[in-house]
Each structure stands twice: as C-alpha cells, then as structure tokens.
C-alpha cells in the first residue's frame, strides 16, 4: 500500500421526480398535515400505490385519510444511524399500520431508547416545522409523547419532489496508480511496458488488456514530457448542478513520446482554441514542486491532477495525420 493518502470522492445526483396522480396527492396532503391511503378492492393501501398489487390494474384516485395514529407491526432499533437516516440520534425503523389502513408504512419512530419500543405499541405522526414535500416531512413517536400540532396548509399541489443523493467513497490508490501519482509529483510520467505486447500504457491500469497480463513495478517505464495532440474537443459548459466552468475549454488527448496510449482529458488553457489542432507538438510544463498536488486523481480517473502549469507548443513541425491516425478518434 502506498504512503499517499486515500483518494476520497463524492458522487452527487440531484434527483427531481414528478409525483404523478397518486404520490402527488399523498405528498400534498402530507405537507398539509394529513396522511392518505388509497382504496383498492375493499382494502386501504398506505402508502398509496398507483396499481393494484394483486392484478397490476391502475387504481382510481380514491383516497381516504388514515392515521395519524397507528400500531407498530415490526421494528428494529438503529443504534448507530447512518448519515442518510432521518435521525442522527438512535431511533427505530418500524412497519406501522396506520388507523384505517390495511397495509403498513415503513417509517422512523423517535422513541428515545430501545426500551420504549415494543411490537404492537401505539405511535403517532409528528410533522416537522419545515416541510420539504417529502416522505421525511413526518416522523413517528410513541403515542404518549405526541404533541398536538396545527399544520398550516401549503400552496398548490406537490407535483415535484427533490432528493439529493450524495455518496462518499475513499480508497487507497492501487499500487501502480500510486507509482504513477508519485511520478507526477516528482515531475515525470511513469507508465508500464507490457512484456508481452511491448505496448507502453500511460497511465497504466496495472495490466495489459490486450494480452490479459498483470504488470508490476518491474514493468514501470518513464516516458517523455513531450508529445503530440492526437485528438481534442472543445467543451461549451452547460450550467448543470455543480458546473464550475463558464467559458469554452479544450480537452485534448496527448500521446507522449514513448507511450502507446494517449493521456486523455488534458485541460488546455494556454493555447488559443483557434490555433489548436491535432498533430501539434506540445510539452508538459510542470508546476514548481511545492505547488503540485494530485487534485481529483483517484483510481477511476483524473489523469494529471494539478501537477501541470500548462501544455505549451514545442515549435516542432506538426506530425502528419498518418502518424497519429491510430489514436485519432
């Protein structure tokens, strides 16, 4: 294992979902302090479904108010809540049969301690002060602890519901990846040469995928800081969630001299878009050692981190297309 810190990264997906003819009225009522079930052939389903679970037939929007009290059918005490749970203090997840419903709702019971929980116990819904048009607008408490609440109705129908999904990861760099990363910090590009195909991979994945051969430290090779632009694209930034770019930027693939695989996703800012072209000879200019860091480089991607100050033209004649055709795609 390397002495570099683990690569940590977060994936976020901001979901906005339309609610439709059943979830919409349910979330609207929930925001306004009421819980709805839906009638289905003599039964009341809560949470309400769009379909008959037995036949799959579409259900008419025949809602009926249920709860806010109910009975716990099954429960589990969450002693160490996860970041994604609706309570940071220990709580219970429970299947709750609300008064007037025939199917159970899964939700959180904030009971304070495991000793307060028992199968069959009565619970009652409590509404959050600030409601977000989500199932998490309520939670449950043992009936004896419930407060009476006046819930002011909100405006309009809930037609959308939002959920930000945020997932965190952390993993040490794989050994070959760590050696590549250290090379970058030292101002050089460390690839791996396959003893079978002779191909030099940069950055290497730790194997030769053409020959299905694992590579190790003895296969490491240092390649040049100069190379050829083999392909590029100009990205015009769309202002999606998390976007930080505002101006069009070049992303280029650069085949370093001595490598058989281009370094992808190179951010080119020091060469005007109008002058940039495939075949151009370029040189990597590293930042001073103290200013280099690995940035978002992890085991998945991030090819040069923040170790380069820029790519600059070498001034050599361009390579003709035939010389780079294999990598120009």
């Amino acid at each position: 294992m390397s002495d570099l810190p683990p690569a940590a990264y977060t994936l976020e997906y901001p979901y906005t979902r339309s609610t439709g003819p059943v979830v919409g009225p349910f979330l609207t009522a929930l925001r306004d302090g009421r819980i709805l079930g839906i009638r289905c052939r003599g039964r009341v389903l809560c949470p309400p479904l769009e379909f008959d679970p037995e036949t799959g037939a579409t259900l008419a929007p025949d809602f009926v108010e249920v709860g806010p009290g109910g009975r716990v059918l099954a429960w589990t005490w969450i002693a160490e809540p996860a970041r994604t749970h609706p309570s940071s203090l220990p709580f219970a997840f429970a299947t709750i049969l609300l008064d007037g419903a025939d199917t159970a709702l899964v939700h959180a019971v904030r009971a304070g301690s495991l000793g307060e929980m028992s199968t069959g116990m009565r619970v009652r819904a409590q509404w959050l002060e600030e409601r977000r048009q989500s199932i998490t607008d309520v939670y449950f408490v043992p009936e004896g602890q419930a407060r009476d609440q006046q819930i002011p109705p909100g405006r309009g129908e809930v037609e959308m519901t939002e959920q930000l999904i945020s997932l965190s990861y952390s993993e040490p760099l794989h050994p070959h990846r760590a050696r590549y990363a250290k090379g970058l910090l030292e101002g050089r590009f460390v690839g791996q040469r396959s003893p079978v195909s002779g191909k030099v991979y940069l950055p290497s994945k730790g194997y030769d995928l053409l020959e299905r051969v694992r590579l190790d430290e003895a296969d490491d090779v240092v390649v040049a800081n100069t190379g050829t632009v083999v392909s590029y694209t100009v990205i015009t930034p769309v202002q999606y969630y998390g976007q930080q770019e505002t101006e069009p930027t070049i992303r280029a693939s650069i085949l370093l001299d001595g490598a058989d695989q281009p370094l992808g996703q190179q951010d080119i800012r020091s060469i005007p878009i109008s002058e940039f072209r495939a075949g151009m000879r370029v040189r990597a200019v590293f930042k001073p050692p103290a200013e280099r860091d690995l940035g978002e480089l992890d085991n998945r991607w991030g090819s040069t981190g923040n170790v380069l100050s820029r790519w600059e033209p070498t001034g050599e004649p361009d390579l003709p297309f035939e010389k780079i055709a294999e990598h120009n795609w």
């Binding site: 979902r17 589990t76 969450i78 002693a79 160490e80 996860a82 997840f93 899964v106 997932l167 053409l210």
Partner: protein
C-alpha cells in the same frame, strides 16, 4: 424446444477481501486466466461473456465497461451485463446457450464494496418516493425481518446466533473466507445489538471479491473437463417492492422457484444459501423445506464473505466444487437480490456423465 444440456466446466473465485488493493478488472483477469488455463481453451473460443456488477459500489460510472478488460477485451467479445449478482448473469448465459447456436460462455460476478458505504448505497434500491429518502437500508430491513420472525414465533435470537456460530466455524475450513472463527452461541448472545434484534455478527462483513464460471453445452462440456457439473435448472422469482405488502417471515418467491425446479425430486446433499443475515437463513430453510441430512452453507456462507454482486455466484461455485470433488452428488445454489430476500434465484446442480 428440447432443453439443452449445459454444464459448468470450470469455476474460480477470489478470496473475500476486506479491501483488495487493486482494481475490479484485475480480479476478473486473474479468474479468466485461471479458467482458460484449466480448460485449455483460447479466449477466442468463448462465444459469449456476461458479467454482473454494480457501478454504485465503487462510485465509478460505467465501471462495468472497464470490467470487460478483465474478461479479455481483444478480439472484441459478444458481451452482456446485468446490474445484478453474477448468479443472474449465469441465468442469462444459460438461457443464451439454450438457443443452441453457440457452445461456451464465460460468466462473472464482481464487486468492491470497500471504497463506499453499502448502507447508504443500497438504500437507493428502495422506492424513491416512500423509502429511499428515509435511507432505508438492507441492514435495517433485515432488522425488521428478524423482529417479525421473533414475534411470529418462527425463530429466537439463539437461532440467529446458532446460524452465526456454525457459519463462522465452517469458515475455518474455507480458504476464501474473510471471517472465520470458533465462537460459542452464548458468547455471541452477549454481544450488543446493532440493529436490534440483530447484532453485528448477524450481518455480513463488507468485502471485495469476484467469482467466475465457464459453462458449455453437451458434448463440448464433456470434452472440456473430466467431471462436468450439470445445471439441471435455474428459476428466479420476485416479490413486491413494498415491504407493507409482504409477509417478511416467509419467502413465497423462493418456494415457488423451488417448486418449478422440482428440487425435492431427489436428495439435496448440499445447499449454499445466499443468506446475508443470519435471520435470512431461517426464512430460506423453511421456504425450501431443507432438512437433515442436507448440509447448509458448508463454506460458511455470506456471513463469512460477502463480495456483493458475486456472493450469489460464489454459492454456485461452492456447490459445483463439492459435486466435482465427489462430496455431493446433487446440490442447490441460491442467490438473492433486493431488501429482505425480495428476489430469489435457485440453481439446481448435479454430477454424473
């Protein structure tokens, strides 16, 4: 259509690692090379490849494409993928070979759970309006299921601990086990709750790992190995996603799959169950009607190693290994997907010419 005879001709698995220090494709590459070396065939002779994996586990969009590196990316493969346990990849390959026009398929399942937080990731499998915003995770749902079993009188906490004690002890003989130890039931019962009534040891360890099998049709299977392990049938069934619509103390989908396969038409020498929580084994044993002398989870099962996306395929490998070694003649492998055994797959395996 007459069913094709299809057999497992080679199988391989990595140990269940708490944290494997290299990539998922590199694990698959080792397994692929092992299967090819054992059967002596070239990669070009594999007609179809399919893998089961989950991009969310390591947080790498399109990770499943990278995994093809490990199966041999060149020359181009006829490839498929399921975002499910490798056991479902086996099902698709088995169905594909039923067509009868190709002979050999490579099946893999792999996952690295160590970089992420499985409790947070797998809550996203649940209903996006009613459950996912609550972070309703597999451990919590297993806790609800365990409680339901206790309240229904179908199990005791001691029953859960007995499953754990037996499994961890069996793990001592399994070189691929991540957790293996000899612990008494009483010692287990003195541990604190994690998701009461479940304790930490009732949960599977977080693991990285992979498994792969090579399957072939009829005569080709007989030529490729001395002792083919015949797939007599695979069936999988699913239950509603809403927990409120299910009896968590039962597994009607497993029972139905077992009926369709006719598992009780002969003795079942060994059953490898994808019981990720000790409480799930109680539900599965009952739904399958397993009794002595059927040996359950001699590998130690998922409680000794749970490389998510491979755990079900590992069950197939463990049964196939025992049939090939001759310690079992006929065996059952089980895989599962979704919270509280929502979807269940059974694969019936048998030795013989």
């Amino acid at each position: 259509m007459t069913a094709q005879e299809i057999a497992i001709v080679a199988f391989a698995q990595t140990p269940a690692h708490r944290q494997y220090d290299d990539s998922e494709p590199s694990m698959l590459m080792d397994l692929t090379n092992q299967l090819l070396a054992e059967t002596g065939i070239e990669r070009e002779e594999i007609d179809f490849t399919i893998a089961g994996s989950c991009d969310y586990l390591s947080g790498m969009p399109f990770a499943f494409v990278m995994n093809v590196d490990g199966l041999g990316a060149w020359p181009p493969v006829y490839e498929s993928h399921v975002e499910m346990d490798g056991a479902w990849a086996l099902f698709e390959a088995w169905v594909r070979l039923q067509v009868g026009d190709i002979d050999v398929a490579l099946v893999a399942g792999s996952g690295k759970s160590s970089p992420g937080r499985p409790r947070e990731i797998f809550a996203l499998q649940t209903n996006p309006y009613y459950c996912a915003p609550l972070g309703l995770d597999p451990v919590s749902v297993a806790g609800l299921q365990a409680r339901a079993l206790l309240d229904a009188g179908k199990a005791t906490e001691r029953d859960f601990a007995e499953v754990v004690s037996r499994s961890h002890r069996d793990g001592l003989a399994n070189p691929n086990a991540q957790v293996a130890k000899d612990v008494s039931v009483d010692a287990l019962l003195s541990e604190p709750y994690f998701a009461a009534p479940l304790r930490r040891h009732d949960l599977p360890p977080i693991a990285d790992g992979a498994a792969a099998v090579l399957i072939a049709r009829g005569e080709r299977a007989r030529r490729l190995c001395e002792r083919p392990v015949w797939i007599r049938g695979i069936d999988h069934r699913i239950e509603p996603s809403h927990l409120g619509l299910r009896d968590l103390t039962d597994s009607p989908s497993t029972r139905l799959a077992a009926e369709k396969l006719g598992i009780h038409a002969g003795a079942i020498d060994v059953a490898e169950l994808c019981a990720r929580f000790s409480s799930e084994e109680i539900v599965l044993r009952e739904a399958l009607g397993l009794r002595e002398p059927t040996r359950i989870n001699p590998s130690g099962g998922p409680l000794c190693g749970h490389p998510v996306m491979a755990t079900g395929l590992v069950r197939v490998v463990e049964v196939a290994r025992r049939i090939r070694e001759g310690s079992a003649r006929r065996g059952l492998a089980h895989a599962t997907s979704g919270p509280a055994l929502q979807q269940n797959l059974l694969c019936l395996l048998e030795g013989g010419a």
